[in-house]
């Protein structure tokens, strides 16, 4: 894509910089009431009784709802992504009935004139709680004798799935070496700076519902709400306004509050708003990452992988509202950039009395990468090879595409890599970080009691999955171009990158293209922003639509300019005869002329409209023709397109404090054709920062009763500008053959390999101590423990 690809400044920024963003809590419809939720303080408890009388009587309270008040409406949420192996799926009701299964589960909702009063009233609700034993540690959840999260789910097992490629048994039997690792990743959460929120307005005169929701998938919410509330779909609109970060948390569908607030707005015939606060977010928004793997790899004498197996437990929390997508992604992404001819994976999804698990940026890939890369490191160590040499010996080569992993990906299509160049990427990363210079530096530092280490990690990412997205492009008489799509934006720069794609087709200025996302009243088809898919699907759909508009421009332009189509070009917002700049029409004038209704606004448009006064024969619109310069387009990919990357970092570990600091961080990244490199790099920076959080800072601590001990930003540690290093990014572009733009997704990439890389780097730094890393996240205290344990082991005779 030529012309407007490049580091264009974002069109959405001036508004946001002026403080004129419109996030859900900024939206205050006249007369809006405020909701507050009574949430379970226990991980597991029976509700023996609930008395809301004092709350109802509190001045300023309009309503208090419990499960009893909801009646039939209080149905379990739809299981949005069913799977045959999810034999014991369970979803939560908007309000708990006789028991609660996780801290934070919604039990009652107060609606009042302001949030302060609503919270006062929540405090007045009396619940007769009968605490039950809580199932917290997922690693033992399926063992006999453990508390059951759901009485009718034996051994807390929600799902069990075995997938096999080739003949792993033979591979293991005949291998020169077999290595096994126990690997553990503990839970974290997306924690966007804007928590969740919903505002609902019901107009009883029009019988229509308008909902602003900080969601990543408004169309799905709209259709679901219409169904639940018994309204026709065209009477329900959902708008995702400016959204302050999503990271997967806001793709979770039909959160209790998303359903309760619209329902209450209909009951009360007044707008209702619920703004989630930070404490609530920690205990009721979805989380992710908890998995425990027993992984084995079989290799030949040269370290080439013959087979691999991972048996793992996946913690789904108290319910399975998003199916088992995350562990499926873990399975399919585990082979990563390597050839794994024989592979067996077996996972068990278990319930625990903790908040629900659904995708958080990475969505099971960070765990998969951690496992695979730890195995690579093990192979290297055991065979006395450099880890990157093991990587090189096992990489899928640039000549191997399409490379079929042999599994079914999360979209139901084959897990088949389309393009890439992992060896070139790794080499570039090595050059950028300058391994030989580092080794010299490391050696010198050790003389002075300083421990520097280097780590690498490689990964692939399946992006741009279907089912499809759509786009609508229209040139207006003013010359502005409207581009609409159903996907949403939480900061990814869609308003700019999508504008670039459309501007490229129409030959106009990027600044003249206005993009609208996430408004169901503007576009009715699509799925949403998640799984690193928006640019690939919506971007290409807008490309299709823009090309169709381009065709109309050329056709009408040829007619009005009395030239042949081949002699025309679209440039600088005009259609013009090549080599004859005087023979041109602005796109706006053309748009006026394309709509033969006699009215014209603006000078250029008037000129064009005079065309219409000429004598003519027949109807202004022939059969099948439409007025205006507009078109819709759709894009449905065959399958995912595979991005990839190689990260490298130099770290320092302070053996006294156990602290980890990054000295350098390098990313080589391949997301195919780059529309806007600055936006791509921004996505990578943010992903790496969350990856660093997940490796060394972020961990959710639940006590035995299911209380979240660190439910605040004081104790849930997201890295600051001091903890995140400068990140050097280099790009490799292997275009995707699977879409016209040749693009691949990048949203989650930065997070995927960080934990794996940090493990390798720490082991390298602390090699003199013989430290082994097989868990994430770490902490200074844990590093100290590992040093002590390792030294102790080495000291024994």
């Amino acid at each position: 894509m030529s012309g407007v690809a490049g580091p264009v400044r974002r069109t959405e920024d001036p508004r946001l910089l002026r403080g004129l963003g419109s996030y859900v809590d900024d939206i205050d419809p006249p007369g809006v009431l405020h909701a507050a939720i009574l949430r379970s303080p226990y991980g597991h408890a029976r509700i023996a009784g609930i008395d809301v009388s004092a709350a109802r009587a509190y001045p300023g309270v309009c309503a208090v709802y419990t499960a009893a008040d909801l009646g039939d409406f209080n149905q379990p949420a739809p299981l949005v992504i069913p799977h045959p192996s999810l034999t014991h799926g369970r979803t939560q009701r908007p309000l708990a009935t006789d028991k609660v299964c996780f801290i934070g589960e919604a039990v009652a909702m107060v609606v009042a004139t302001d949030r302060y009063i609503a919270e006062d009233a929540v405090g007045l609700i009396e619940v007769d709680w009968q605490p039950l034993p809580a199932m917290i540690d997922f690693r033992v959840a399926d063992q006999a004798g453990q508390p059951l999260v759901h009485a009718d789910v034996p051994n807390n097992v929600a799902a069990h799935l075995i997938q096999v490629v080739g003949d792993p048994e033979s591979a293991f039997r005949n291998a020169a070496h077999v290595f096994e690792e126990q690997l553990y990743v503990e839970r974290s959460c997306g924690s966007p700076i804007e928590a969740r929120g919903v505002v609902a307005v019901y107009d009883p005169r029009l019988e229509s519902l308008l909902v602003w929701d900080a969601t990543q998938a408004p169309l799905t919410i709209k259709n679901g709400l219409a169904n639940m509330l018994g309204l026709p779909e065209f009477k329900v609109e959902v708008i995702a306004p400016d959204v302050g970060g999503g990271f997967g948390t806001k793709i979770m569908l039909f959160f209790a509050e998303e359903v309760l607030v619209p329902w209450a707005a209909i009951q009360l015939r007044q707008p209702v708003k619920w703004t989630e606060d930070r404490r609530e977010h920690f205990i009721s928004a979805n989380q992710e990452r908890g998995q425990q793997h027993t992984a084995r790899v079989a290799v030949d004498a040269e370290g080439r992988i013959l087979g691999m197996e991972s048996v793992f437990l996946h913690d789904t929390g108290a319910y399975t509202p998003y199916g088992i997508v995350v562990p499926i992604i873990t399975v399919t992404q585990m082979p990563g950039p390597y050839k794994v001819p024989n592979y067996r994976s077996e996972f068990t999804v278990v319930y625990t009395n903790t908040p629900c698990v659904s995708p958080y940026r990475g969505a099971g890939r960070p765990q998969a990468c951690f496992v695979m890369e730890r195995l690579i490191d093990r192979i290297a160590r055991e065979l006395g090879l450099d880890a990157n040499e093991v990587r090189r010996r096992n990489f899928v080569q640039p000549t191997d595409y399409p490379w079929d992993v042999g599994l079914t990906f999360q979209d139901g299509a084959p897990t088949k890599y389309d393009s890439g160049n992992y060896p070139a990427g790794l080499q570039l990363a090595e050059e950028m970080i300058d391994v030989p210079a580092f080794r010299a530096e490391q050696s010198a530092a050790r003389q002075h009691g300083r421990y520097l280490g280097i780590g690498f990690a490689a990964y692939v990412e399946g992006t741009g999955i279907g089912p499809y997205e759509g786009g609508h492009v229209r040139i207006e008489p003013s010359g502005r171009v409207l581009a609409v799509t159903a996907v949403t934006s939480q900061g990814q720069g869609h308003y700019t990158s999508f504008a670039q794609i459309v501007a490229n087709e129409l030959g106009c200025d990027v600044a003249d293209v206005s993009v609208i996302t996430g408004d169901t009243s503007r576009f009715n088809w699509g799925a949403g922003t998640y799984a690193s898919r928006a640019l690939v699907t919506a971007g290409n759909a807008l490309g299709v639509a823009a090309r169709a508009v381009r065709e109309k421009v050329l056709t009408l332009g040829a007619e009005l300019l009395e030239a042949s189509r081949d002699d025309l070009e679209l440039r600088d917002g005009t259609v013009r005869v090549k080599g004859a700049p005087g023979r041109a029409l602005t796109l706006g004038a053309l748009a006026t002329a394309a709509n033969p209704i006699r009215y014209a606004y603006g000078k250029a448009a008037s000129q064009a409209a005079l065309q219409l006064v000429k004598p003519r024969a027949g109807a202004v619109l022939r059969a099948g023709e439409e007025p205006g310069l507009e078109a819709r387009g759709f894009f449905a990919p065959d399958r995912a397109t595979w991005a990839s990357g190689q990260h490298a970092a130099i770290v320092e570990v302070d053996p006294g404090t156990g602290n980890l600091t990054f000295v350098r961080y390098v990313v080589v990244h391949d997301c195919g054709v780059l529309i806007n490199p600055t936006i791509v790099e921004g996505q990578i920076h943010g992903g790496v920062a969350q990856g660093i959080g997940g490796a060394f800072y972020e961990r959710l601590y639940f006590d035995d009763s299911g209380q979240l001990v660190n439910a605040s930003f004081m104790d849930f540690l997201m890295p600051t500008a001091v903890e995140v290093p400068e990140i050097e990014v280099a790009h490799i572009e292997t275009p995707s053959p699977l879409n016209p733009l040749g693009v691949k997704g990048v949203g989650e990439a930065g997070t995927i390999p960080v934990a794996a890389l940090v493990a390798e780097a720490i082991e390298d730094a602390l090699a003199p101590f013989g430290v082994r890393i097989n868990e994430m996240p770490l902490s200074p205290a844990r590093i100290r423990e590992l040093i002590d344990e390792a030294v102790y082991v080495d000291a024994r005779p």
Partner: protein, 306 residues
């Protein structure tokens, strides 16, 4: 997360504040900088019936010299100290430690008195006050009393302040000659509460330590004065005694365990920080010490520069 309802009064004088506090009874709370209290109000972990806001009591805002030391009014903002160039010379430990208190926006509002009265076990200023042997002046309807910092802190979020008392001033004694000081802490992220922190003040006579104060934060309910470690340093050379002093700290403290640190790790950390801080304080004392000046003069007379 919104506060529960409370009555509110913003007195303009200390006497008015004392009166309001006395009238308010046991459920009244003083509001100073609010950087610790307001989060508690927002979480509804504190639900006072009355807030007595001290932010309009101008007479509690001052930094002045007195009796060769520094007197700091309790409502003096932490940022004021941070910007006070003279404080850097006169009270380097306080100056250094204040930069570690949260972030600039916290220090814009946070006060010296508020931090001491709140007595967070991982805060910087309580440990600094104990290390400097600060004298804390307390007002009540019954008059005034002065308490040494070391006697002021009782335990977790608890001081000797009675419900009707207001901390009004912190007086810091002048430093001995050839005193070097250091504040070192380790926190998970920049600006967080310390997992452990140490204030060290060393005075040298020639090469030897003639006065040593070592006070830790984050290792117990209140600032922990490491007397054994101080004794080990007295009369000796830091290069010979620092490790032993650090070990003494490790064994003497009995820290809590929490999600960020085990007991063992905290104790180990305290030792590591103590040793490093002792060396740092020592280096700074040397830079000021007459013996260092002697060395430099000798080198200069030999035509070489130190």
């Amino acid at each position: 997360m919104k506060p529960a309802p409370f009555e509110y009064v913003a007195p303009r004088s200390l006497d008015e504040a004392l009166g309001a506090l006395a009238d308010g009874g046991a459920d009244a709370k003083l509001l100073a900088g609010g950087q610790s209290l307001i989060p508690l109000l927002n979480f509804r972990l504190a639900r006072p019936s009355l807030l007595v806001d001290l932010n309009r009591v101008a007479e509690l805002v001052y930094v002045s010299s007195r009796d060769r030391g520094v007197a700091i009014g309790a409502m003096t903002r932490q940022a004021t100290i941070e910007r006070d160039a003279q404080m850097r010379q006169a009270q380097p430990l306080l100056f250094e430690a204040i930069g570690w208190v949260g972030h600039p926006a916290i220090r814009s509002r946070g006060t010296i008195g508020g931090s001491l009265a709140h007595a967070d076990p991982a805060a910087e200023l309580p440990a600094v006050a104990v290390c400097l042997d600060a004298q804390l002046s307390i007002a009540s309807p019954r008059g005034r009393r002065t308490v040494a910092a070391e006697d002021f802190f009782v335990g977790y979020l608890t001081t000797v302040l009675e419900p009707d008392e207001i901390l009004v001033e912190t007086w810091l004694p002048p430093l001995l000659p050839s005193t070097g000081q250091a504040w070192l802490e380790f926190a998970r992220r920049h600006g967080d509460f310390a997992l452990a922190g140490v204030a060290v003040s060393l005075s040298l006579e020639r090469d030897a330590v003639c006065d040593a104060r070592i006070v830790l934060t984050g290792v117990g309910g209140k600032p922990a004065r490491a007397r054994e470690a101080e004794t080990l340093l007295m009369g000796g050379r830091v290069s010979e005694r620092a490790a032993a002093a650090a070990e003494a700290v490790r064994s003497a403290i009995d820290p809590d365990a929490d999600i960020h640190a085990t007991k063992e790790y905290r104790a180990h950390l305290a030792g590591v920080l103590t040793e490093r801080a002792i060396h740092l304080a020592h280096d700074r004392a040397l830079a000021l010490a007459p013996s260092a000046l002697d060395v430099r003069r000798t080198l200069e007379s030999l035509g070489r520069h130190a």
